[in-house]
Subunit: 141 residues, 2 copies
Amino acid sequence: MRPDGVIESCLYVDDLDTAAAFYGDVLGLELVAAEVGRHAFFRCGASMVLLFNPRRCAADGTSDVPRHGALGPGHLALAVANADLAAWREHLTRHGVAIEQIIERPSGNSLYFRDPAGNSLELTTPRIWGLPEAQESRPWP
Amino acid sequence: MRPDGVIESCLYVDDLDTAAAFYGDVLGLELVAAEVGRHAFFRCGASMVLLFNPRRCAADGTSDVPRHGALGPGHLALAVANADLAAWREHLTRHGVAIEQIIERPSGNSLYFRDPAGNSLELTTPRIWGLPEAQESRPWP
């Protein structure tokens, strides 16, 4: 038995409004659901990026799901075409996002930066993991 | 500009060997790379699940990538077919994994349990997010 893939990934952010603006306006993810002060959920291709206020959701007595909530910088890599990384670098810089590191590899490059909460984000091609670069686009009702 | 999807999701675990055995043997993910005491990387469908020892990687002076490492329970949902959830429940129970919660919805159900480090894991169908259930299988060289 083996799951088909990852459908929800979480990052924890102290200032949810600032983070949600970043993920929506700068990274271009589609906001799907939000609860003020608690969470903001974004679709990213075939899966979801869930932002939570960790203090709020770890202490949430009314939550209808098992509790979670981590402190400290997490990490997420988002898939882009290797050929688009230069445009992403310009785009991020234009939005005042500092590029923390660039790694170049034969299989593809990575662009590292931080979200407003300090989480480590990476834009890279799925080819670095031997996976096809173009993700099929999927219908979103 | 918009990323194509999530290519790496991270969870942090204090006991890497125990966690890696769980993700490999019980959840059936494919181990792709590992460094003893620091990380274990698994492929899960079209993306990667990265397990890190947070104390080790947050303090890692020799790391070649920006530092990260969170403490406290994180969350990840893995995609399965809704029709397979009953079999997964039996499978987990057979491996001594306690089912923490089951949520039933018209769009699909969720099975919640913990990994050995206490992270909240969920098995659910992509349909709960309006996404197609069957993830295309992709070649893995």
